[in-house]
Symmetry: C2
């Protein structure tokens, strides 16, 4: 039985989701995969930090959050280590980077990930910021240090959209990827089709926890654009950045637009797309965009309602293959981390 020690940077929904999976299924996972995952450190700006090289009990971490909203009730050898000290000085072999997403600078996660890789730790992250902005650099850094850099959770939460594309469809020649990559906007569009105004639908999405207080990143399409960049880099060897993605959100869509589509047997979806093509000179070129798009009801992506996500890979050998699954959720995203951790174990 191999044991992997984990340090969690950030202990919000996703970190708690993974702790819950390890609490409830850790024994099962060990039996089935021969790998034991042991949390040794948690460092969170708001909830506090705890470190015990001998291991922390996930049940105790969750109970403390439940009882007092922070980690004060957890017994630990060391407290208040910040993220960088945890990364550098703890005995964790895998750093789980789950701090907040910044799609402009990638910080503070970018610094955390660089530090961890340089120190020879595996990194698994759900953070779109550093992944969308600096994937090629971080992957190279991981390779140089002989460690893994897992990012499955950055697109479609635990639905294995990246691994299906990289590992299972890689040989089929992916020439286009398009999908519904943002659950919040898809939920809003679905509600607007049932007659809600944009404002009502947004308020409902916020109430359900799908949309943040400041919904700009979702509704203006930036979140989906970050995922398009990740898909381009990981699945199609296209070294695109955020600036290469033509981006339009859903804030301009009116109830009139929605009903006009309905009358035509169509449906608006916020579609993220990346396509590779040869230009006239044999050079590789790419189109990348996020844009509200009217799809006929018969289109496989048209029937995807609510917060569900979906992605269609267009390949040379298999034609279209579509994957549909959850795009958010604490357990669902926690599962994405577990998937990357199990992949480290397989190697």
């Amino acid at each position: 039985m191999k044991t992997y020690r984990l340090a969690m940077i950030g202990f919000g929904n996703v970190g708690q989701g993974l702790a819950q999976i390890l609490r409830d299924h850790g024994g099962d996972i060990a039996r089935r995969h021969g790998a034991q995952f042991q949390i040794v450190a948690v460092s969170d700006l708001l909830k506090g930090s705890v470190y015990d090289p001998e291991g922390l009990d996930p049940a105790e971490l969750l109970a403390s959050i439940e009882a007092v909203g922070n980690l004060d009730r957890v017994e630990a050898l060391h407290r208040d280590w910040d993220a960088l000290r945890t990364i550098k000085e703890s005995n964790a072999g895998i750093i789980l980077e789950m701090s907040y997403t910044d799609l402009h600078t990638g910080e503070p996660a970018l610094t955390h990930i660089r530090q961890a890789l340089q120190n020879g730790r595996h990194v698994v992250t759900t953070n779109k910021g550093p992944t969308a902005l600096h994937f090629p650099e971080l992957k190279r850094l991981a390779d140089e240090n002989n460690v893994e850099f897992g990012v499955e959770g950055t697109v479609m939460s635990g639905t294995p959209a990246l691994r299906v594309g990289m590992e299972l469809l890689g040989g089929a020649g992916i020439r286009r990827v398009q999908g519904i990559l943002n659950g919040t906007t898809n939920y809003i569009l679905t509600q607007m089709e049932s007659g809600a105004s944009y404002e009502e639908a947004l308020a409902e999405a916020q109430q359900k926890g799908y949309a943040e207080a400041d919904p700009t990143g979702d509704v203006e399409g930036h979140d989906a654009a970050g995922k398009v960049v990740i898909l381009a880099n990981l699945l199609m060897d296209l070294p695109l950045t955020m600036a290469d993605v033509e981006c339009q959100g859903i804030t301009g869509l009116t109830p009139g637009d929605i009903s006009a589509a309905q009358e035509a047997g169509e449906r608006w979806k916020l579609i993220g797309l990346v396509e590779r093509r040869e230009d006239g000179t044999g050079q590789l070129a790419a189109t990348a965009r996020v844009r509200p798009t009217r799809l006929p009801l018969s289109h496989p992506l048209a029937s995807i309602g609510g917060a569900t996500n979906a992605i269609t890979y267009t390949t040379d050998l298999l034609g279209d293959v579509t994957l549909i699954g959850p795009g958010a959720g604490r357990i669902e995203t926690g599962y994405a981390l577990l998937g990357d951790m199990l992949a480290i174990n397989r190697k």
Copy 2:
């Protein structure tokens, strides 16, 4: 660069599809995966047999079929070796078993596969017969001989339905799998919705090459039942056999049934399903069936038209994940073989 020598048992559509992939993309595959796949033997009851330990050119194999319908124009050191001699005496490390499917006895493929595994050769097959009837035995035999037994092509052709379930969703706890697993019947049902009678739709499916001259295996649900057995064994550790699957085909559906569903906003689909559940005593029990089922149009499987296949995995940690893709086709099924061959290379 590692070289794998291949012996093809059967050279129908699927074998020719793989030969085409190797002819057109062999160089690419070698560059990307560091593995060279070289056909050394083909043994086909109707088209003849050729063996050259130094390798056969896939372009030459295909050109001979194109020109004279058999392998007579191929230069080879040995001719007319039958399947068993090819398996035992050729220098192939991977046996590709693509002879015809028999869902009652599994023969002759079953004998071929047993022989190959006993001789320490990897086996990759698209043949549902031996897989549905004897998977646990054949897997054990492969393990004992330290070789692989790849069966991705038995369900949904090259759409990686088995690998997604085994490798990517295994940790999520699959408790139910259901899907549209037979393209022929789905094509017939789609045509009947457009007003064709069952007989007309079947004739059209036969003309397009989707249905065989004797369509019984497809339309009575046996083909889908074989796939349910494979899914149960591989994805859910349920050692079911064909006899455990309650099976009903589409031959009883009338135009009246079709239009009654349409009027109710529903659609008939031939659904294969396997579900595991605890019975009262904590014992594991299973439901497995193939049955025409009326789905509401909003159901993700309802929008799957024509010869496309789809599968929904219901999991403990991720809820529903659905995969949609081709269910047949020579290149598509050839890609399934390639996927298993690349997996052998990764190990």
